[in-house]
């Protein structure tokens, strides 16, 4: 079992993840088209000579704060901050984990920089706390209960299990070998699930918010959905 999850399944999951991601990106491009000359300007910034000059730091700061209060960070600050911390930990922890980089080095002869195990252990615990917040939020907030189904809990479970099993393995809680097999298995399942479940928001967040032109485009958008 160990050899299976350590060997072929890693390749299967990576291939499924990469092919799935490419398919989703192609799907996005086939569903959208390049925007010709826009008939309406979505967001207009006044020309430099027409902009209100900065009167004071306090004034400029309060102007900025007023704009932030209108963003989703201003409307749901707790959720957005916890979600941001969660996602940063989600990416940073596995990539800069000493254990993972040791395996890369063993297999391919190169690895990335690694944080100390104390740091990655702390990041994992932060992530697990954030995930607990998501779980409690989904159970206890009526607005989330109204749109939740077992699928949402399953996807959260799938996303959290690699980190939970990694935490258990690092601290040698339960049988190490079994936990490691589960860790690798859940990691592979999560990777494979990304293009085919709502975890695909990982890909589409960037495609939709940066490339598609709408009121909330980040930067200049270039495409619209057909």
């Amino acid at each position: 079992m160990y050899d299976l999850v350590r060997g072929p399944l890693v390749w299967v999951s990576l291939i499924v993840f990469i092919v799935g991601t490419v398919v989703q990106v192609i799907r996005f491009y086939s569903l959208s088209k390049k925007l010709g000359a826009p008939s309406l300007q979505v967001r207009v910034r006044p020309a430099k000579k027409n902009r209100v000059p900065i009167q004071s730091f306090d004034g400029a700061f309060h102007d900025w704060l007023s704009r932030v209060k209108l963003t989703i960070l201003g409307i749901s600050p707790v959720t957005i901050i916890i979600s941001s911390v969660f996602h940063v930990c989600l990416f940073v922890t596995p990539i800069f984990l000493l254990g993972h980089n040791e395996l890369f080095d063993l297999s391919w002869g190169f690895s990335l920089f690694s944080f100390s195990e104390a740091i990655t252990d702390f990041l994992t615990q932060v992530l697990l706390l954030c995930a607990a917040f998501f779980l409690l939020r989904r159970i206890f907030q009526p607005r989330l209960r109204a749109i939740s189904s077992p699928y949402d809990f399953l996807v959260l479970f799938l996303a959290v299990m690699p980190f939970l099993t990694g935490f258990l393995a690092y601290h040698h809680i339960f049988d190490y070998r079994t936990v490691m097999i589960l860790h690798m298995l859940f990691g592979e399942l999560m990777l494979m699930a990304i293009p085919f479940t709502k975890l695909t928001h990982m890909i589409f967040f960037f495609l939709n918010r940066f490339i598609i032109v709408n009121e909330h485009t980040i930067g200049k958008g270039t495409r619209v959905y057909t």
């Binding site: 569903l31 409307i75 607005r143 989330l144 589409f204 967040f205 918010r209 709408n214």
Partner: protein
Amino acid sequence: MAEPNIASVETEQGINTEEIKAILDDQQALMKLSLKVCAHCSLCAESCFLYTNTQDPKYMPSHKFINSIGRLYKKKGKIDRAGLEQIGDIVFNRCVLCTRCYCPFGIDIPKMIAVGRQICRSQGIFRQYDVK
């Protein structure tokens, strides 16, 4: 039972599932993708003025499209008149298509409501503006 201001014009043939499926299939690429990308995060809630004024989850944009167009895709268009009238209530009474709604993942919610309205109208279900 339909809401009093949702007109439901019945024909002899009843609900034409083929017609509904044709519209669903025509839009399926974008609609199904949007339904899949929806992370059920409810961050769209405050963007709808109907939700902010009622605090009722049924006015959340995500709740609206999941229970209208989402339900139609789940059932693959096979829905009875009563079910379609419920969907009509959602897309005509709970949404004014002001397009104020936002989604952190960039899902075009008004488009989904509009397709829901298109399907309802194709089966003779529409809003009557002269009835309270």
